[in-house]
Amino acid sequence: MEGYSYIIWILILPLLTFLVTGLGSRKISPTLAGIIGTTSMGICALLSIYTAGSYFGYYSNGVYPSLKVFDLPWLSFTENLSIHLGMVLDPISVMMLVVVTLVSFMVHLYSIGYLHGESRGGVYFSYLSLFSFSMLGLVVSTNLFQMYIFWELVGVSSFLLIGYYFTKPSAVAASKKAFIVTRFADFGFLVGILIMGYVGGSFEFDAIISRLTNPESPEFLTATGAGFLGISLLTWSLVLIFMGGAGKSAMFPLHIWLPDAMEGPTPVSALIHAATMVVAGVFLVARLFPVFFQVPVALDLVAWVGALSALFAAIIACTQTDIKRILAYSTMSQIGYMMFGLGVSGMGEAGLGYMGSMFHLFTHAMFKALLFLGAGAVIHYVHSNEVSDMGALRKKMPVTGLLFLLACLSISGIPPFSGFFSKEEILTAALMKNPVVYGIGLFTAGLTAFYMFRLYYLIFWHNKPYHDKPSPLPRKKEAPLTMMVPMILLGFATLVSGFFPFNNFVTSDGKPLEITFHADLSAIAIGVSLTGIALASVFYLRPGPWPDKIATALGGFFTTVYRKFYIDEIYTLVAKKFIIGTVSPVANWFDRNVVDGLMNFTGTVMGVFSDSIKVWQSGKIHGYLLWFFAGSMIVLILMFIL
């Protein structure tokens, strides 16, 4: 599409930055690498905002069109199936371009200050660029396979960045875990893609959607006809694709990698593990939403997985003590909201859930990035992740404290901050479709307010820390300017983004959506959130005996929650004890002794056989003569007899 061809630079710039800072990481200084990365991402952000402006300004027939700006064949498999690399502009991809470039720009800028003095900073910034490139490639994908390609690339960037402190064993373990768990989920995604290609005859989103939403098309009939194990192929495909999405978006039970991923540098957690990569699963479901909508089973699965993950993570978050892990569980919980928002949504007029989910994705990216960057500033200052090492920091870091409070209010759903608006729409949509999910969502909103304010109080109030730290904290208080500026910008975004008329722009069918404000529902939600905040204030504003008493009273339940419901242990049991500890040694023994034993046995038999006949080749003439005569005699005798 002419007019938009400049958007190729949104991909080229980060890729070039990756190559330059990566190949030259030992030649250029970390700060220079940071400046290059920040500038390039800043340009991308400007381009994206400009694109968003012109795209949403342009409006044909009352519908925002889907524009394939680029579409180049990359690898062809058969006549119909091939991988193309392209860039598509439609409401959700334009929105994601803005989100990714903006947050990435802030994180780049923040990292210059955060990583000051790190010798491997150049490598860090090259990984960050690689991630940005991959994530941007993912959101503009024109087809499933392109998405899979960039999906894997964001996975590997995440792996590299989590393992950035590679001499630290816990970081190594976390990076491996993140990659392997998401790889397992991607196995489902890949098989889902293969099925989709098989039944849909294409990997292109537009072709798949137009064929599989038309009940008359031959593809639709095949896809929904006889399947495997009584489930139609289309359902299989969507469920498996969702498995990939659930892995990336840390949905239960594939969430176990996300809390550990907090081993990475904090800006990375903000960018990858809060604002952008982890919402890729939501984006994937949204991208294929018209097809999901054809299969109620799959959509219900999305709703239930989302709702349960939201609740599950919120419960765990109430018990954790590591600032970043609390935020990680909160991310998981908020993504759960986005997922069930999609799961309860309809199409077109009934697409409130879809719109709310995308809206929440947008607002969440801003306030969650702010929370992580704020946490980073705190960690930078106290050199610890444990909330017990913090407390009363509001006097030392007033600006950070204020911004953190703002983000907490937003995530808790208190008006007029952004989180209120988006969460409200998701909850309203849930009530219309599935009251149980609504109930879970509402309860989780209360929990969210509780654990977020617990966190806020433990860091910034709670005058007497649990344990007196022996060494006094350094005099330097607020973070440097490069860290402060992005936080203030994000704080501003948190304040205003809720008023953005999202329903006019990002909807399930590209047409503006009428939304009505339900004062009663809002009142209920705000009431629940305020209750959560109030409870947190009672327990955590000042040190008191109550939290410990309640924990003791809950006994086993508390321990179970604190140990994250032992999900990690179950995985360890299956993966480490069973597959690596049992199956693979047995297979190795079998290979060395049975399979190879058979080969060696063949060799030995040959050897024994040849040993036994080699005495006949003694080289002694009289021996040969003896055998010759003996043989001749036998033959003669036989001739006489017969």
């Binding site: 690898l75 062809s76 119909n80 960039f150 590679f166 190594v172 005859g201 095949t222 690596i580 060799g603």
Partner: protein, 498 residues
């Protein structure tokens, strides 16, 4: 282009190595020879492309035919199609990297380089041959040097390993030879006189019952070389004893002779029998893929790990062939190329690490990325290629096999594809475990003074990484080159049973 040049250059190189007296001369000659050969291979690719563009659509280009032994109708008959061009390119890249990696071999270095180039000569001859007899001749040329390379320059139980490898491969060869003679005889019965000519045999119309008898000989014979389960056990022993360059050649070139033979000789010449046996081929290759991956998980020795992972990865080659579709077979050839360069890089890196740390046991290393960032990065690239990361060659090959296989109607084929897909998860586990334990984590004190790659190692790594990245990021030309030459007996896919 005269294809004989591709054999002539290595032969002249061999003569040159014999003529020079010292070590420095031998390696220089070998390097020059392999650079020139790489130049010719690239020229061949270019000329092949131009010729095809100009509309030449015969199966094989640049054919030459010379009577070698008239009485038995044996010819020196050469010609190339897209598949052989790709394999020749692979060989010349791997040979160059192998020569570079071996730059500082101390023991009998003249003889070492001689054998390396000799092995390459056999491979080039094999890939350009269209006469089964000459093809077999070159095939055998490539077997002997492996024995010597392992038995003389190897480590550990080298005599045992060398002998085992030679015997198993020779066993395979004998099956192939029996198959070739069978073909020779039956073309006399059913075709226009006994012949070793590949093109004529393909047109001879040998009946199914004869095919069913000859096909297994040919296929198993070559599949032994390609480490098909259960004939793969030479690979772990061979690799664990072989010197670095020999491992690179063994996995990067030799195993590919097997795959190429399975495709060009077995599946192409006996299409009906191949279809009949496809169930068993797929069954064995899937076993190899999954079982190989699971056994790899157990390996503590990183070289053994790569040897077993080769068993798993080469399973994709046989799976692609067994599916008998154009796309899957294209994937099989892509996988041969991808695995060839990837595993050569991996063995090269493992050699570099071993030379410095004097251990191959992962847990005895750690944090090496800190002292050898270049080698560490190569290790990561090889590993990520092995686990099929997009942007590197492995992804392209595996996805082509998967898509091609999944399109075959029938639950069995789909189940096999899904199992093959599952193996990439296991691959990720063992690769990351190996990388985590060797490159990451705390650095061992005794390794704090180790040095990063020398110039020759950097050059070898760069050559192979170049192949991996080019193939992984711009795969279309290679895929098209290969796909156009997949024999017609491989059905183009029937999409959708509408």
């Amino acid at each position: 282009m005269n294809l004989t040049l591709l054999v002539l250059v290595p032969v002249i190189t061999l003569a040159g190595i014999l003529l020079v007296k010292n070590k420095g001369g031998a390696r220089t000659v070998a390097l020059i020879g392999s650079v020139v050969q790489l130049g010719f291979s690239l020229l061949l690719l270019f000329m092949y492309g131009t010729e095809r563009k100009s509309g030449n659509s015969t199966d094989f280009l640049f054919e030459t035919k010379q009577v070698w032994f008239e009485q038995w109708n044996i010819h020196y008959h050469t010609g190339v199609d897209g598949i052989s061009v790709a394999m020749i390119l692979l060989t010349s890249f791997v040979v160059l990297a192998g020569v570079l990696v071996s730059w500082n071999v101390e023991k009998l270095s003249r003889e070492f380089f001689f054998l390396l180039v000799f092995l390459g000569t056999g491979a080039y001859g094999f890939f350009i041959s269209l006469d089964l007899f000459t093809m077999f001749f070159f095939f055998e040329l490539a077997v002997i040097p492996k024995y010597l390379l392992i038995a003389i320059w190897g480590s550990g139980r080298k005599e045992y390993s060398a002998m085992k490898l030679a015997l198993m491969l020779m066993g395979g060869s004998s099956l192939v030879l029996a198959g070739i003679f069978g073909l020779y005889y039956y073309t006399g019965v059913y075709g226009n006189g006994s012949t070793f000519n590949l093109i004529e045999i393909a047109e001879a119309g040998i009946p199914l019952e004869i095919q069913s008898f000859l096909f297994p000989l040919m296929f198993i014979g070559f599949a032994v070389l390609s480490a098909m389960f259960p004939f793969h056990t030479w690979a772990p022993d061979g690799h664990s004893s072989a010197p670095t360059a020999a491992s690179m050649f063994l996995a990067g070139i030799s195993m590919k002779l097997g795959g190429y033979g399975c495709l060009r000789l077995a599946a192409n010449l006996f299409p009906e029998a191949a279809a009949e046996y496809s169930f068993y081929i797929i069954l064995l290759s899937i076993t190899g893929i999954v079982y190989g991956a699971v056994v790899t998980l157990f390996q503590k020795d990183i070289k053994l790990m790569n040897a077993y992972s080769s068993v798993s990865h080469c399973g994709f080659v046989l799976l692609g062939i067994g599916m008998m579709t154009k796309t899957a077979a294209t994937g099989a050839v892509l996988q041969m190329i991808s695995h060839g360069v990837m595993t050569a890089l991996f063995f090269a890196v493992i050699g570099m690490v071993y030379e410095r740390t004097h251990t191959r046991i992962g847990s005895q290393m750690g944090g090496l990325l800190k002292v050898m960032p270049f080698i560490g990065t190569l290790f990561f690239i090889a590993g990520l290629t092995s686990l099929g990361l997009p942007g590197f060659s492995g992804f392209v090959a595996e996805m082509t096999v998967f898509v091609g296989s999944f399109q075959v109607p029938g639950l069995f084929y789909k189940a096999a594809t899904v199992l093959a897909c599952a193996s990439i998860v296991v691959t990720a586990v063992y690769i990351l475990r190996a990388a985590g334990v060797t490159l990451m984590g705390p650095l061992k004190e005794e390794h704090a003074t180790l040095t990063d790659a020398a110039w020759n190692e950097k050059a070898a790594g760069a050559v192979l990484v170049f192949c991996i990245v080019v193939m992984g990021s711009a795969p279309w030309w290679l895929s098209d080159l290969i796909q156009a030459s997949i024999p017609g007996s491989f059905e183009p896919l029937i999409i959708l049973p509408h």
